[in-house]
Symmetry: C2
Subunit: 208 residues, 2 copies
């Protein structure tokens, strides 16, 4: 088993944190995104979407999509259960992970695509052009998400209450990507978000 | 257990098709989206995002997000396994469901938000304005997705090969919503997409 990884992208970090929480080590292959190695014909035979992370099994079968990889690893290494310990908890962790992905990850990606100097040449290479108004529109959606998120985190140590879950991993990676690379700031008046972020960022796995 | 549902929205249909494939009946409560009932204070106590579908259990606990609801129902009624029968199949079904949601569902939602007369007043009510260029941008992404999807479906009865899965349900609901309500057409030259769609639309569950 080996993980195709990149230190600069948010989604492979989700898998790395997941592995660290499980205490598992998986050999990694660094993919150079700046050289567009993930778009090479060789790599696209493993994942036709040309994206990382990607988990390649010893028989050559491949699993793409960070959460699909994490879910597979959870089956091989059930403890600690980051997708939930029973049917209802698994449903709630899935719900929370999706709320984070759809409510935060999607608009952050829109701001990244339409508002970043890093992505402008990539959009142009696909024959398109950035839409700055779409970046502004999604900044408002993100601000509204964080206000809702702050209310939901009131009295909760972790996103789904207890214990720490895949939803915390997703949110941490998206927020850190948004603040470090997409130019999005979290209003410091949102004290529950700040407290939650400090808690999860202090876990040793966050260094992964 | 009861399902908060609406006949006009794509996500509750995913749950209804899932239930039909399982042969399960769950009592439903119709939520009037045109009257914004899902945004009432009463409903938001069940789902603070004010969205359907929502599954309310007999003890009052609620599960939001269509795939979280389906996953919970899969645990209660494992056969037929629409999320996969073993760890690797579950990983691949999750991968395919996410490819469909992120590659098709997300840009369809962007066209719906930025290019539909139905959503214009809703966007305005939130203090925003549609960005027509964002709709056009995402129409191109959808066209590219369908060309990729057609290649992937070559030689595959269902999206993840065999058997029928949650990814087929997601794609069917998104495509039918996109063509019926968002004004998106699928190029008929994409013969594998057309054949796959005819196959899944002919299942009795598609009437749900």
């Amino acid at each position: 088993m080996k993980l195709y990884d990149s230190a600069i992208a948010p989604n492979p970090r989700r898998v790395r944190i997941f592995l660290a929480e499980k205490g598992i080590e998986v050999p990694t292959v660094q993919v150079d995104l700046l050289k567009r190695e993930q778009k090479s014909e060789e790599f696209k035979r493993k994942n036709s979407l040309g994206a990382i992370p990607l988990l390649e099994l010893d028989d050559g079968q491949c699993i793409a999509e960070s959460v699909a990889i994490c879910r597979y690893l959870e089956e091989l290494h059930p403890e600690p259960a980051l997708f939930g310990r029973n049917a209802l908890e698994r449903a709630h962790f899935e719900m929370w992970n999706r709320r984070v992905e759809l409510g935060l990850g999607v608009p952050v990606a829109q701001v990244w695509i339409h508002g970043s100097p890093y992505t402008a040449p990539l959009v142009a290479a696909e024959g398109g052009a950035q839409v700055p108004a779409a970046a502004a529109f999604n900044r408002e959606i993100i601000a509204r998400f964080f206000r809702w998120f702050d209310r939901e985190l009131d009295g909760h140590t972790f996103i789904a209450g207890e214990p720490f879950s895949i939803a915390d991993i997703s949110a941490l990676c998206m927020i850190d990507f948004a603040t470090a690379l997409v130019g999005i700031a979290v209003d410091p008046a949102l004290v529950n978000v700040a407290r939650w972020h400090a808690t999860v960022a202090a876990r040793p796995s966050a260094q992964a």
